[in-house]
């Protein structure tokens, strides 16, 4: 590594970091939040065995899990305009990423909810609670404790999946690295630096995950 490259990397680091903060982090945070809500609803309509919605939920999970995210991004961003639905790149990415989180995490959450002894739901009923009350107060909190490690994995996976938004011209970390590198042709180093940014984010998240897990451990 020459001094010039080092200089370049030092200069580009804040730019990449800023892109991470302005694009990758919001993209991750928004998609994950929406995705978890979709996942929870998808899991609940299956557990409560609500007709029609339940089949719809299974269909949705089937489609999302069975097709590559790249294809989904292209369908939403390049395909939907042809039937009159046009969206800019960022919201398109949000939609696809949220749906993906929703589908994968719904299975995680469903498993976690089913891992809470069924008798506790009956015990809720016997103290006069309704199904929604029981879910909200007793079952889902415990399911979330059980689901926390796998959901954290999904979150970390999502951080990296945001790089796919590059393919529909969202200027995220990869695109930014490429832009900078195209001026000097130091692709090798800039892509490594892009990787470093992801590594930093994911390490931070792993660290938070451990912290929270330790705290939950104490609350039992």
């Amino acid at each position: 590594m020459t001094e010039r490259i080092l200089q370049e990397l030092i200069e580009s680091f804040p730019k990449l970091l800023l892109t991470a903060l302005k694009v990758t982090v919001p993209l991750t945070a928004i998609s994950f939040t929406i995705g978890i809500m979709i996942a929870l609803m998808t899991a609940l309509v299956q557990i409560a065995k609500i007709p029609v919605l339940r089949q719809l939920a299974r269909f949705y999970v089937w489609i999302i899990r069975g097709t590559p995210m790249l294809v989904q991004l292209f369908v939403v961003y390049f395909g939907l305009p042809s039937i009159g639905i046009t969206m800019s790149a960022f919201p398109s990415a949000i939609i696809v990423l949220s749906l993906s989180v929703g589908a994968y995490c719904s299975e995680t959450i469903r498993g976690a909810i089913e891992s809470v002894p069924k008798g506790q739901l009956e015990a809720c009923y016997c103290v006069g609670m309704t199904f929604p009350q029981a879910m909200r107060r007793v079952i889902i909190p415990q399911a979330m404790t059980a689901a926390f490690p796998p959901l954290s994995n999904s979150l970390i996976g999502l951080v990296k999946d945001t790089s796919l938004a590059y393919s529909i011209a969202v200027v995220e970390i990869m695109a930014q690295a490429q832009r900078i590198a195209s001026r000097t042709y130091d692709y090798f180093w800039l892509y490594l630096e892009a990787g470093l940014i992801y590594l930093i984010i994911c390490t931070l998240l792993t660290w938070i995950q451990r912290l929270v897990e330790r705290r939950m451990e104490r609350k039992r």
Binding site: G119, Q120, A123, Y125, V127, G128, M129, Q133, R137, V138
Partner: protein, 245 residues
């Protein structure tokens, strides 16, 4: 008073409850005995709408409930007037002992939090668990969990509490503390229907005994009569079997 009329329930081909009727007067403690598979648990579950009976009624608190189909609203109201103690305690794992007891008051009954805590503490005191009020279930022994579960069932002062083999999941040395609490409740006039294999409890703690076999009540007596001079051959055989063990 609670009057149970003609419960019927089948699982597939199997007729688990053929036609079960009985009556519980206020303050009565009824022990339900019977061999494994005779339908005792199913009867309590039908009486709590945890299982939908194929037929039958219960008259309780001056109101008649159809065990086969009642509206959600009726079921909810009915459940607020009963208590249920499960074989496996089924405490809420994310709640402390005190929260387990107050949750139903606060969430289902919309009771003021302070009043609920007040009542919760009193209930825990009655089962001797007040000093463990901030413990999570995973930190309690089976006997302690079951006592908290009893506090949870009685805190709302229900018209009747159903117990489904409350000591069967416990190590033998822990059954005593739970039975003591139940006997105390019985002495205080709580109306209870207790499915149990604890003959000692049935003899001492219960006013009346119901013997079930194959989905039917085959004998119903005061507990003295049942244990000293049972009327039916089946009751005699049942008692023989127990003494034989």
């Amino acid at each position: 008073m609670i009057e149970v009329m003609n419960i019927q329930k089948r699982f597939g081909e199997k007729e688990v409850l053929k036609d079960v009727s009985f009556r519980v007067n206020d303050g009565d403690v009824i022990a339900v005995l019977g061999p494994s598979g005779s339908g005792k648990t199913t009867m309590l579950r039908c009486l709590s709408f945890l299982e939908t009976a194929d037929g039958g009624k219960v008259i309780f608190d001056g109101k008649e409930y159809d065990l086969h189909h009642s509206s959600k609203k009726d079921i909810l109201n009915y459940r607020k007037k009963i208590g249920f103690v499960f074989q496996n305690y089924q405490l809420f794992g994310n709640k402390t002992a005190l929260e387990n007891v107050t949750e139903g008051l606060i969430i289902a009954r919309k009771m003021d939090k302070k009043e609920a805590v007040d009542r919760g503490m009193k209930a825990l005191e009655r089962v001797g668990m007040l000093d463990h009020k901030d413990f999570y279930p995973s930190r309690l022994s089976g006997g302690q969990q079951q006592r908290v579960a009893i506090a949870r069932a009685m805190v709302s002062e229900p018209g009747v509490i159903f117990f489904d083999e409350p000591t069967s999941a416990l190590d033998p040395e822990l059954t005593g503390e739970v039975l003591n609490v139940m006997e105390k409740l019985a002495d205080e006039g709580t109306t209870m229907v207790v499915v149990t294999h604890e003959m000692e409890f049935a003899r001492r703690g219960a006013d009346r005994v119901i013997l079930m076999e194959d989905g039917l009540i085959v004998e119903e007596d005061s507990s003295d009569v049942f244990f000293t001079s049972p009327k039916t051959d089946r009751a005699k055989a049942f008692l023989e079997g127990i003494r034989g063990r």
